[in-house]
């Protein structure tokens, strides 16, 4: 078990309907694990008066009905769940591993990034060139290997409908970090794989965006029309706590998978998985190999 002392949770009232809980000021896998563990327990408790439970990267938020559940009573419940989670001997969550095929350096994000070059830190290169350079990689190939090599936690779903924020399962010193665009773009292709701060994301809809653009996935992740069999009635594929493994693909496979998606025949590779935080901390790279094997 990790011996790091947990920072005390900070509970803050957001007027009369929301409680905001910060678990850590900085992003850590421990804080995310605590957020997902507390919110999963809160959800299964089916406490009357709770309306929405939103886990985030290092915090979470609860919307509640103050006419049925007082802020003080809610805070007591959350504190007790936090104690329960912190006292666990075995730190695991039940989740799934999902393979996301990515065409890195694709023509569509390339066209878009060239169109908005005047808003970028490095007007003479691409977003991939820039990210590889400032993170000390020996070229774009090595950078793509790092991005697609180790798996990611979906640490939050939101901003807009169905957009996953992902935090890579590697030690702090190997985290990729890039700033957002100097000024946000007014356009981003749907299903762009983006990056900002220490988070990767997949844009669920076409629209404005400030994250660096690395590639595009053929996998539909938001389905308001209900035409994708791999997406349930919520219209949204990802859930906080999902584990994602990117796989670099070539153009011909991309085209084939897009055709599958358009015909409603896309089948993502998904496998159930029990994540163990201490096993992971003990050997992150060995753990990454095991995650990959789950999909074989």
């Amino acid at each position: 078990m990790s011996s790091d002392p947990l920072t005390p949770a900070r509970y803050s009232l957001a007027a009369d309907e929301f409680m905001f809980v910060e678990l850590s000021e900085e992003m850590t896998l421990e804080a995310f694990f605590r957020s997902i563990s507390i919110t999963q327990r809160l959800k299964s408790s089916e406490t009357p008066g709770i309306i929405e439970i939103c886990p985030a990267n290092a915090s979470y938020q609860v919307r509640y009905d103050p006419d049925r559940l007082s802020a003080a009573a809610l805070k007591e419940i959350l504190e007790s769940l936090d104690r329960e989670v912190s006292a666990q001997r075995v730190r695991t969550i039940e989740t799934r591993v999902i393979e996301v095929p990515v065409l890195y350096n694709d023509p569509w994000t390339h066209e878009t990034l060239m169109r908005f070059r005047d808003r970028h830190q490095d007007p003479n290169g691409t977003d991939l060139d820039y990210a590889a350079r400032i993170n000390g990689f020996d070229g774009v190939e090595a950078f793509i290997e790092a991005h697609s090599g180790n798996p990611w936690f979906v640490s939050m779903v939101g901003f807009v409908a169905g957009l996953p924020f992902m935090y890579q399962m590697v030690p702090r010193e190997r985290q990729i970090q890039v700033p957002k665009y100097l000024r946000p773009r007014t356009d981003t292709p749907k299903q762009t794989v983006g990056y900002g701060g220490c988070f990767s994301c997949i844009y669920s809809v076409r629209g404005a965006g400030g994250y660096q653009m690395f590639g595009i996935t053929p996998m539909p992740i938001y389905d308001p029309s209900g035409s994708q069999p791999h997406i349930d009635d919520s219209m949204i594929f990802f859930r906080p706590g999902d584990i994602v493994k990117h796989r670099a693909i070539e153009r011909d496979e991309y085209d084939r998978l897009v055709a599958d998606a358009e015909a409603g025949r896309f089948e993502p590779r998904v496998a159930p998985f029990t994540f163990d935080l201490d096993d992971f901390n003990h050997d992150p790279d060995g753990y990454a190999r095991r995650v990959k094997e789950v999909l074989q």
Partner: protein, 323 residues
């Protein structure tokens, strides 16, 4: 029975009381920004209180009715006209078959709610007919109205009565200078004491970027944050946080310069510090503020927010019991 959209207006969309339970997936509540006026218009007609209506922002649409229907318009002051003849706000009136319903320029408030006997018939998505434009979800094809759109209607419940009028005491009166009550918190400890105090002492002007996602404010003194070493993953600007959820009504301050109040089509999360939250009872008023009007924030306690919530409930009860 259909309605033909001759002119869409500035930003007209189908809204009801919104959807619940999907914010953790990035889907905000949507629904009418001024819930009280939306509910009032439906209740006047004997519709279900949460039936789908048209929310018309600042400049109303022009609509041709294929068949005769009773309607009620509540909210901002935009005089309705039938084939050019004025009709009253806050009162049930009939639109004859083939007639055109239009609206004058807005005199006060920002959003009018046009309820039609029976309610608008668009498919329910995740339990609501409300339009969520960013996600292309709900309403008519997930977007605001356009010219040549056709709107279908549900059968009238038959309870509506021409001339039925909202009691004067239940008609809101709009101003040009709003006091919005706020429970301070979330990340307001990041502000310097002086900056936090000044935030509540100054008038803020609503910018032209004021829509269903949020209201941007200008004209106050930029806020200053305490110096710090940026936490890992937060970003370098003092207003940055590790991306978190945004409560509806929360006030965020990107770079400390222009506060934004998030409303019912909110982006559900992001990386800017929030310094407080507008209480639920005042969110209807936010939806009625026009660009260039003034806002002052008033800090209150949770107990005061709960008292205001109870008062708001009484107003809704009054609407349900009106003669």
């Amino acid at each position: 029975m259909t309605i033909e959209v001759l002119k869409p207006g500035l930003a007209t969309s189908v809204q009801d009381i919104g959807r619940q339970g999907y914010y953790h997936l990035g889907i905000p509540p949507s629904g009418g920004m001024d819930q009280r006026s939306l509910r009032a218009a439906n209740l006047l007609l004997g519709n279900p209180e949460g039936a789908a209506v048209l929310e018309c922002a600042l400049m109303g649409p022009e609509l041709r009715f294929a068949e005769s229907r009773l309607v009620a318009a509540c909210g901002s002051e935009m005089t309705p006209r039938i084939d050019g003849q004025p009709r009253p706000l806050n009162e049930v009136f009939r639109v004859p078959a083939g007639a055109t319903l239009s609206f004058d320029f807005v005199k006060a408030g920002a959003r009018l709610y046009l309820a039609i006997e029976g309610g608008i018939d668009v498919p329910e998505k995740l339990g609501s007919r409300s339009t969520y434009t960013l996600g292309s979800l709900g309403g008519l094809e997930g977007r605001p109205l356009r010219a040549d759109d056709r709107l279908a209607l549900l059968p009238p419940p038959g309870a509506a009565r021409e001339g039925r009028r909202l009691p004067e005491a239940l008609i809101p009166s709009f101003s040009k200078h709003y006091l919005l009550r706020v429970v301070p918190g979330i990340y307001d400890h990041r502000l310097t004491d002086e900056s936090r105090e000044r935030f509540y002492e100054e008038d803020w002007t609503v910018a032209s970027e004021a829509d269903r996602i949020g209201y941007r404010l200008k004209g106050g003194t930029p806020l200053s944050f305490h110096e710090r070493e940026p936490p890992f993953g937060a970003g370098d600007d003092p207003s940055n946080i590790v991306d978190a959820c945004y409560p509806i009504g929360s006030i965020q301050v990107p770079s400390g310069s222009e506060p934004i109040i998030l409303h019912r089509d909110a982006v559900s999360g992001g990386g800017y510090a929030m310094i407080g939250t507008v209480i639920s009872a005042d969110m209807d008023w936010v939806g009625q503020i026009q660009p260039h009007q003034l806002v002052r924030f008033v800090p209150i306690t949770l107990e005061e927010a709960l008292a205001a919530r109870a008062e708001y409930r009484k107003v809704l009860e009054g609407l349900r019991k009106m003669p």
